[in-house]
């Protein structure tokens, strides 16, 4: 099965341009982690700060553009991995090792279409 791992963290700790020491350290960890995953990792990337986000909302069929992310909350979607795993337990094992600051979350979502 294919699973999406969605990484949520308080993005402020990484600084607006993602150049803080914390950001550099985390980036190095992600590179090492991706290498470790090998063929399990199908895709993945960090995302720019949520201040760079633009959201198109549709209400009653009418589209409006908004500056900012879909949901305003302390933790923001900051990156993702797309992985191949035989079952949820295997995906959980992979997701538990995603580099993360002291607080945050990784959401595991199976893809609708089996890969």
């Amino acid at each position: 099965m294919q699973y999406m791992l969605l990484i949520y963290e308080d993005e402020r700790i990484y600084g607006p341009d993602r150049e803080s020491p914390a950001a550099r350290e985390r980036r190095a960890q992600h590179i090492a982690y991706s290498r470790e995953l090998g063929a399990t990792r199908l895709a993945g990337s960090g995302l720019k700060d949520s201040t760079a986000a633009t959201t198109i909302r549709t209400a009653a069929g009418k589209q409006t553009l908004h500056d900012g992310p879909f949901a305003e909350s302390r933790e923001q979607l900051g990156g993702y991995y797309l992985i191949e795993a035989p079952d949820l337990d295997a995906a959980i094992a992979v997701a538990k090792k995603v580099p993360l600051s002291q607080n945050g979350a990784v959401e595991i979502r199976p893809l609708l279409v089996p890969g």
Partner: protein, 408 residues
Amino acid sequence: MTSAALGLVFREASGRIVAALASRFRDLDLAEDSFADACARALEAWSREGPPRDAAAWLYRTAYRCAVDTLRRRRTEHRFAPELQRNAIEEQPLPDEWTPIPDERLRLIFVCCHPAVALDARAALTLRLVCGLATREIARAFLLAEPTLAQRLIRAKRKIAEAGVSFEVPEPEAWPERLDAVLSTIEIAYGRAHEDAAGSGPHFNYAAEMLEITRVLAELLPHEAETAAMAAIVRFAEARRPARVDAHGIMIPLADQDPAAWVEPLIADARRYLDRAVSLRPRAPRVLQASIHAAWCARRTLAEPPPWSEILALYDELLRVRDDSIVRLNRAVALAEVRGVDAALAEIESLAPRPLDDFLPYHAVRADLLCRAGRCDEALVAYDAALALVATSAERLWLERQRAALTE
């Protein structure tokens, strides 16, 4: 064969058969539906020809064929059937008369109690699939409307199917987390059964199921201290059930129960499980809890003083490995007897009250302590809070009597 006798066969066989089908076809709905189909066919065939020699094996074979038929039908209906189903159909020959039903209940318990399944659905799902209880019975035990519970079961099964929950028994590294999820599920389920002292209320039916499921778990995992401890706890508690209510249907607190009314064979059984647990991990939280039950059940007569100091010492140890409000509350009861009511009240008042506001024993214990401390007005308020939460008649009558004694 009467339909009641058939019901018993179905109930007893259902856990093993549904588990075997579920792990074979990796599909809970298919397993349940096929078993239901097999039961329907049995009713018809057995009333015509009489029941077969091995009714369970007959049901398993028939359910297995029903499952394979359903999969074939699905494959013709949707030409893009997933690979997995094709394998499921073609991998193995159909079971014949000599095929034993594989015991896959442990696997199914781990599926139902996966931490990815909503906590409030795990116990219900286990009771439904592993113990074969009807949705109606479980709903009654959980004090929920049947459609609410049915909805919860559907959501849980969908989650298991869609998230790809594994049908394997977990790997060693995931073991502690997963086993704990299983044991806390059983605790929740048994807690429901135990709340009802008279054992005549809505929870009556499945205290027996809890004996069975803990026996199975302890048998399947003989080297885990806490599974043996869990089996011991349920037995100690069930052994005391006949002494928990008086002739007027009023609950009798543990220290006032007549040990002569306790069920000796169940206590002996519990002790065997506890001995095994203690030899494996004497300081594990559930082993200490079982030891507390054992200390109570060692009392021979009402004339013998209750073992309060021993109970308090065990709670002190338990507190070191599991420090939570409920352990502290239970410890306070022993504390009151050993060091006095004031010490116990101070301990209880130091608990964060918010999470225990909905917890009946918190209000009941507090009311009793306040009353003994001579703080009658506060005790009345606490009894009212307890009465607002009580759901079973034996407990209600007891609380009402205690409260009435205050105002005399």
